[in-house]
């Protein structure tokens, strides 16, 4: 192997005969054994998982689990379904972790999920109830002992004057004869017992008197109790809150929040489905429509130029370093992928510093104290972004091109050389078309990646520089995805994931269409071999 590494191109090929010899060896049982073992492990885990789900009573998931396991078994036991045998493992993970994200985003696009609407209605009701409990002003703190009788919890409280009383849920306080730590006929709970019943005990509210407006005792920590009064009362029957002071009624307005007749809403609200509202808002949103054309053009230009520049440099370097006569190629190759080995957010920060007009290395040292506004001039900022992206991205292209170059058989090139082709001709007519077979889809996906390259833009310029006279929060280097981020997450009500998802789906449709067109053209390339 070391010999090969030293001079790959020139070494004759010893492995081939070895491979041939092995093919002729008689068929062994080991393959079948491995298959049996793998399948039994798979089934053992599957059945175990199904059992757990059965006990948990998650029937839908249980059903899906049974179906998945049966399909997997069929695939590997059947004599047909050959492609599925190879595709199933990867597809399995793809479906769970990637398709799920897509489906989830699709679902969110039809909801109002976001700040202020981030959970269920029950959570919202609980939060409003908790929020409306106000400690009665100047009321004392009671020392609390939680006691129980026949499974019912009661509060044994001592007020600051040393008076001891007992009460429970719906049972107003009554004075009792006790030292405050225990009571005849009742069992005193230890702190650990209290912790084991936290939810029940923290839900108990003990009326101070028969008059509910006097407030009720609750405990926040299990060892002390305070007097609270509720400013908002929830009525389950009418599904509404009533303000105790003003009498205003807040009812379920059907848009995921409780609102008064005047339209005043209580926070938090909850998540509901809203149909196509988000899509309608996405296409009619004023703040995005004005700058849209410019942003779309720049997004396409940015994505296309990023792919073109990184690919050109990566391919060029791969070819340059692919000459077996060149010494020290190993070192050059390793150093060339340096930008790829560092965390990219760190690199973006370093570049932002390097390009600082006054203190940065580029202006200060390389350009001898020039004052070039690399990141604050609209045009220069675009160029800087493309340049930094070239720096970040060329090692990737270099790596894949280096790998792909190995796929070109030397004899094809030798033959061309014998036919009198020059270097450039060999490259253009033979190497490049062959490379494109494997690399074209990669270039398309690199295009798509840069189309949504949120991180680079955000860390380098955050979309800026911004023209403040425009009145919209859009800068010269904003691409579609950063614009969406600003619109959907910078809205008045905070982050609006529903709107963001609708945008994501619209963007996806655009990129996918462009990509499918590109992909169709690779069909021609594919059959070249």
């Amino acid at each position: 192997m070391t010999q090969l590494a030293g001079a790959p191109g020139t070494t004759p090929a010893p492995p081939a005969p070895a491979v041939r010899r092995r093919e002729k060896a008689p068929l062994s049982l080991s393959g079948i054994l491995i298959k049996i073992i793998a399948l039994s492990v798979l089934n053992a885990i599957g059945v175990y998982a199904l059992f757990v789900l059965f006990v948990a009573g998650s029937w839908l998931v249980f059903g899906l689990g049974v179906a998945t396991l049966l399909v997997l078994d069929w695939i590997y036991l059947s004599r047909r379904a050959l492609p599925a045998k190879y595709l199933a493992p990867g597809v399995f993970f793809l479906v769970i972790f990637q398709i799920f994200v897509v489906v989830y985003t699709g679902y969110i696009a039809f909801t109002n999920y976001g700040d202020g609407h981030n959970s269920t209605k029950d959570d919202a009701i609980n939060a409003i109830v908790a929020k409306s409990l106000v400690r009665v002003e100047d009321s004392p703190a009671y020392q609390l002992t939680v006691v129980q009788q026949l499974g019912t919890f009661s509060f044994l409280v001592t007020d600051p004057d040393g008076e001891v009383s007992l009460g429970g849920e719906g049972r107003p306080l009554e004075e009792v004869d006790s030292d405050g730590t225990s009571l005849d006929g009742y069992e005193t709970l230890s702190f650990n017992d209290i912790l084991n019943n936290q939810e029940a005990i923290s839900a108990i509210s003990v009326p101070l008197t028969d008059n509910p407006s006097d407030g009720a005792l609750r405990t926040p920590d299990g060892t002390s109790a305070f007097l609270y009064e509720s400013t908002l009362l929830y009525d389950e029957a009418s599904d509404s809150f009533t303000d105790q002071a003003t009498g205003t009624v807040y009812s379920d307005a059907g848009n995921g929040e409780f609102a008064s007749a005047e339209g005043e809403a209580l926070t938090p609200g909850w998540t509901i489905t809203v149909g196509f509202d988000n899509f309608v808002r996405a296409v009619t949103d004023e703040s995005i429509r004005g700058p849209l054309l410019g942003v779309v053009l720049w997004t396409f230009a940015f994505a296309f130029l990023s792919v073109a520049t990184t690919f050109a440099l990566g391919l060029f370097l791969a070819i340059v370093f692919n000459d077996s006569r060149m010494r020290g190629r190993k070192v050059y190759r390793v150093l060339a992928i340096l930008p790829y080995a560092f965390p990219s957010f760190l690199s973006a920060l370093v570049w932002a510093g390097l390009l600082n007009p006054q203190f940065g290395f580029v202006n200060n040292v390389l350009l001898g104290g020039a004052d070039v506004p690399w990141l604050t001039d609209p045009t220069l900022a675009k160029i800087s972004i493309l340049f930094v992206n070239l720096w970040l991205g060329f090692p990737y292209m270099f790596l894949v091109c280096t790998g792909a170059l190995q796929a070109i058989p030397d004899d094809v090139i030798e033959a061309a050389r014998v036919d009198g082709a020059r270097n450039w001709g060999i490259f253009r007519l033979i190497k490049l078309p062959l490379l494109m077979v494997s690399l074209a889809p990669l270039l398309i996906s690199s295009f798509a990646f840069n189309f949504n390259n949120f991180n680079l833009i955000y860390m380098l310029t955050a979309g800026g520089p911004r023209d403040i006279s425009a009145g919209v929060n859009v800068g010269a280097t904003d691409i579609l995805i950063t614009l969406v981020y600003k619109v959907a997450f910078g809205a008045v009500a905070g982050r609006d994931y529903g709107l963001a998802s609708a945008f994501a789906i619209i963007i996806f449709i655009v990129v996918a269409t462009v990509s499918i067109i590109g992909y169709r053209r690779t069909r021609v390339l594919e059959d070249i071999n």
Partner: protein, 295 residues
């Protein structure tokens, strides 16, 4: 004037050398400067106990390894554990990614079945979906898994690896698929005639022939997982389980107490495994195995 003969003699050799490989060294040096100079900052800052990242243009004004030592002396931020975790998670993810991807690429390259082109296209399209909500979705998913199987749910490294394997099919599959296509079908045919089954052909013949691309994909996947930050930071919460990307970020994420020089030292060391792996894999990437077997 006694030298002209020497000059005349050497000149053609030098020119020839330059045309053959010399210019390549010029390109190489230029690329190394281009690739490395921004990172000299990181290195310089890592050697300066009080340094900011880019505050100063005096590179290497101080050389002091204090930061490198300090990295291993912070119980709240166990750098050594992060390092090992990263190697483990990155390594396993890369191996599994290569395996899953190669399986799929083999099917796409060698078999003709209904839905093949649609399948290939779908792989491409799934990668393009804007991942604005990926973090929320993956958190909820792992949260659901945690309820039933805590061992592979939130705050488990296995759970994180599983999430990474969701991306095993995708761009990498394409890269391998293209490479598989360049391995002549005649090799499969010959093996088939010799009585080898599809699994045998795949594992003992094809995989060897495509070693360069397996190495490339392995490296890409390793780099991808080791530098991934967002999902890892959601899934892993216990400091002892975290990866380098998540851990290192803690040094600089607090708006008011950034520790750039410590962070830089950590990042420099974090780059070492990647470089080492590339150095190790290079011989496979450029091994020329394909050329030999095709003949």
């Amino acid at each position: 004037m006694s030298t002209p003969t020497v000059v005349r003699k050497r000149k053609p050799t030098l020119a020839k050398w330059f045309r053959a490989t010399g210019w390549r060294h010029l390109v190489g040096i230029a690329v190394v400067i281009f690739a490395a100079f921004p990172l000299l900052y990181v290195l310089s800052s890592s050697l300066n106990p009080n340094g900011t990242l880019v505050g100063s243009n005096d590179l290497f004004a101080t050389v002091d390894f204090e930061n490198y030592i300090a990295l291993f002396q912070r119980p709240q931020q166990p750098y050594a554990a992060w390092f090992l975790n990263t190697l483990l998670i990155g390594g396993i993810s890369a191996l599994c990614t290569v395996f899953l991807g190669a399986l799929a690429a083999y099917a796409f390259s060698r078999m003709r079945f209904t839905g093949r082109r649609v399948g290939l296209l779908t792989l491409l399209l799934v990668q393009m979906f804007p991942q604005l909500l990926a973090v929320v979705a993956i958190f909820l998913l792992l949260n659901g898994i945690s309820d039933i199987f805590p061992a592979i749910g939130l705050d488990t490294q296995i759970g994180l690896i599983l999430v990474y394997l969701g991306g095993a099919l995708g761009v990498n599959t394409y890269l391998m698929y293209g490479f598989f296509n360049t391995v002549p079908a005649s090799i499969d045919e010959a093996a088939k005639i010799d009585g080898a089954g599809h699994a045998r052909i795949f594992f003992t013949i094809i995989l060897r022939l495509v070693a360069p691309i397996l190495a490339v994909v392995g490296l890409l996947s390793f780099i991808g997982t080791t530098s991934e930050f967002v999902i890892a930071s959601i899934v892993l919460t216990d400091p002892a389980k975290q990866t380098l990307a998540v851990g290192l970020f803690q040094f600089v994420s607090d708006e008011t107490s950034k520790n750039w020089s410590l962070f830089a030292a950590g990042a420099v060391m974090a780059a070492i495994p990647v470089m080492a792996l590339f150095l190790f894999l290079q011989k496979y990437i450029v091994s020329g195995l394909t050329a030999g077997s095709v003949k």
